[in-house]
Assembly symmetry: C2
Homo-oligomer: 341 residues x 2
DNA sequence: TATAAAAATGTAAACGTTTAGATCATCTCG
DNA sequence: CGAGATGATCTAAACGTTTACATTTTTATA
C-alpha cells in the first residue's frame, strides 16, 4: 500500500540507492548487468521517482508559473498553448493561474507560486506598476511579461506592436476616406490600452484629423463594455462613420450592439478591430482586423524565460516586439451613400 | 542571497522551528507575544515557506493535474476555468496539460504528473480504453473523467447528456419537416462521438426515417474535417436538407464551407450544431445549437474530485450527467421553396 | 603478478519542513 | 504551598531523493 521508494528498489536489486539514482537519471557509469537488473526491479515494483524529493535536494522544480488575467478571452489560451508546448519540449511543466484581472488575486497567486518554488514566471499582469513582483525579483526568479509591461522593474517583455497595429488600423480607416473615427479603447493604465490609443491618436495627427473627445470611449476589454460604448456612439448627435475597437472582446460586443440597434455595418458605419476573432469571417461584410501572432507570443515568452533560467547570466531588460498584421476584409469600405456628407 | 528558511526565522526570533511552523500554519497554542515577534521576523526576512519541503513530509501537494486534449477548442478553456476556480477556493493548484489528442503524450504526461505527486487528476482522455490510467489507479489517486468516459476502469465521470442533446437536435430538425438529415459525427471510439451519433440514430428511428450511409460522415472534431465533410455532402447527388454537426469546431468548418461553396444556410440547407459558439449569433440566419454548461462541468468535476481526495471513502463509480439545452435560433427553419420536393 | 589508474559502487549528509513525544512553565485549587 | 493539570515550547526523527566523497572492484601496464 505504501508507494515504493528508491530504497525499496535498491534493496530488491541488491545495490545502493546511489546506484539506482544513477540509472534513473541516466548518468552512466553503471555496469550494464546491474543496470538491467535495476530496470527490471523498477518495472516490477512499478516504481515512480518522487519529483518532490528530487526538487528538494536539487532546488529546482522544472515548473514554471503562468499568470493570465482572463482565461475566457480566447487570446490567452492561444498564448498559453504556445508557452506550454515550448515548455514541454524543454521538460518544464506549467502551472496555470487566472487572476480574473484582480491585482489582489494576482498578488496571492504570486505568493503561492513562490512557495511552490517555480523556476520561472510568465505573467500578463493585472497591475502594471508591478510592486506585486517585488518578492519574485528579490529571489532572483526569472520573469517574463507578456502583452503587458511592468513599469517599475526590469523584466523581459514580449509583446506585439500595439501602437503600430493601432496606427495601421486607424490609417486604414483614414485612407478609406473616413474622418469621423471613434475609438473604443481599453483601460489607460494598461500597456495595450494606452499604446493602442496612442497609435490611434498619432494616425489622426499625421493626417490632420482632429481628435474629438466624444469619439473616445473607454471600455474594460470585456464584451459588455464594447456593447455599451457602441450604443453610446450611436446615440451621438454627430455619429462617427467608423469605429476602432481596441480588443477582440470589445469588438464582439460592438458587433452585437450594431445588429441590435440596427446600425448597419459597412453601410452606415465601418469597423476595424484589434485582434482577430472567429466571428470576423462570418459577419457581413467580413470584418477587417489587426491580427497578432498569439502562439508565437507564447513561444517567444518561454524561450526568453528559458534563457534566463539556464544561463543565470545577464540581467539586461530585453524587449521582444512581434509585428501585428492587418487582415483586410470588407468592413471598412466607405459606401458613398450616406456615410460622407 | 540564500533563501531564508524556517531555521533562520527561528534563530532570529529565538524560538524553535517547531514554534515557527505552528504560527505559519496557524495552529494556535503559541503565546501571542512570541507569535508577534515571529511574524515580525518573517516580514523582516521576507521569508516564504517552502511548499516542496512541506509536501515532502505531509505527502500531499495540494496540486491537481488537468489533462485536456485540445486547448484550442474553446470548449476546454471554459471547463478548465470552472475547475480552476473551484480548485482555488479549496486551496488547490492546477497543472494544466494538453495532449493534442495524442495517447502517447497523454501517457507521458500521466507519468510526469505522478512523479509530481498530484493529489488528484481530472482528465478528458485521448484514449478511452484507459490503460494509461493503470498507474494512477494503482496508486489510489482519485481521478475524474470529464466529457469522455473511461471504459475499463471505475472512475467517476461527469458529462452532459450527449445522446439526449443529439436526440433533441435531430428531433428538432425532423419536427421542422426535414427528412434528409445528414450528420457529421465525431470519432466513434470516443464517448461524445459515439453517443451523439446514437442520439441521432434513435431520433431517426423514432420518427421512422431511414438512416442513410451516405448521410453519415465522420470527422475528427476539428475544424478542417467539418469543412471537408460539408463539401462531400454538397457533392452528393441527393443532397441532405439538413446537417447536424457533432461539435463546435466541425460546425465552424461546416459554416465556412457553406459560404465558400454557396450552399445557402437556412434556404437550401438547415444546420444545427452541438455546442454553442460565438459565431452562432452572427451568421444569417442565426445558428440553432445544442449548448452545454461547460463551466459547470468543470466545477462539478472538481467537486467530485475533491470529495474523493478528502474522504478517501467509497470507491463506487459515480456518474454526473448535466443536461444540455437546445438554443433555438433560426438556422433550422425549413423554407418551402426548394428544400422539400 | 604487482601496481597504478580507472571504473563502479557505496556511505552518509543534506535539502526545509512537520510533528510526535519530551520537557518546561504556568495555572488551579485544595 | 504543593500536586496536578494544562499550556507552551523544544528536540529530533522522518519524508525520498541527490551527490560529494570514500571505498571497492576491475582493468591496464609494466
Amino acid at each position: 500500500m505504501h508507494k515504493p521508494t528508491i530504497e525499496d528498489v535498491a534493496k530488491l536489486a541488491k545495490v545502493s540507492t546511489a546506484t539506482v539514482s544513477r540509472v534513473i537519471n541516466k548518468q552512466g557509469g553503471v555496469k550494464s548487468s546491474k543496470e538491467q537488473r535495476i530496470l527490471e526491479v523498477i518495472e516490477e515494483l512499478a516504481y515512480i521517482p518522487n519529483a518532490v524529493a528530487r526538487s528538494m535536494v536539487r532546488k529546482i522544480t522544472n515548473t514554471i508559473g503562468v499568470i493570465i488575467p482572463d482565461i475566457n478571452n480566447p487570446f490567452f489560451p492561444l498564448v498559453v498553448s504556445g508557452i506550454e508546448q515550448q515548455a514541454r519540449k524543454k521538460g518544464y511543466f506549467t502551472i496555470l493561474c487566472n487572476t480574473n484581472e484582480s491585482p489582489e488575486i494576482e498578488e496571492e497567486l504570486i505568493q503561492i507560486l513562490l512557495e511552490r518554488s517555480v523556476d520561472g514566471l510568465i505573467i500578463t499582469t493585472a497591475n502594471e506598476y508591478g510592486h506585486q513582483l517585488q518578492p519574485v525579483i528579490d529571489r532572483r526568479i526569472p520573469v517574463v511579461a507578456v502583452d503587458r509591461q511592468i513599469r517599475n522593474y526590469e523584466v523581459d517583455t514580449v509583446l506585439v506592436g500595439n501602437m503600430d497595429g493601432a496606427y495601421q488600423a486607424t490609417r486604414h480607416l483614414i485612407l478609406q476616406g473616413h474622418k469621423k473615427i471613434a475609438i473604443i479603447r481599453g483601460p489607460q493604465n494598461t500597456t495595450p490600452g494606452y499604446e493602442r490609443f496612442v497609435g490611434y491618436r498619432r494616425a489622426l495627427e499625421d493626417y490632420n484629423i482632429p481628435l474629438l473627445d466624444e469619439y473616445v470611449l473607454e471600455g474594460d476589454f470585456k464584451e459588455e463594455s464594447g456593447y455599451l460604448d457602441t450604443q453610446k456612439l450611436h446615440s451621438l448627435q454627430d455619429r462617427p462613420t467608423a469605429i476602432f475597437t481596441a480588443n477582440n472582446l470589445m469588438t464582439l460586443g460592438c458587433l452585437k450592439a450594431l445588429t441590435k440597434i440596427g446600425w448597419v455595418l459597412g453601410e452606415e458605419v465601418s469597423l476595424i478591430g484589434f485582434d482577430d476573432l472567429d466571428v470576423a469571417e462570418f459577419v457581413n461584410p467580413q470584418l477587417t482586423v489587426v491580427s497578432r501572432p498569439m502562439r508565437q507570443l507564447g513561444e517567444a515568452a518561454f524561450d526568453l524565460l528559458y534563457e534566463k533560467m539556464t544561463h543565470q547570466g545577464e540581467w539586461t531588460k530585453r524587449h521582444y516586439v512581434l509585428s501585428p498584421k492587418i487582415k483586410i476584409r470588407q468592413s471598412c469600405v466607405l459606401r458613398p451613400s450616406k456615410t460622407m456628407e
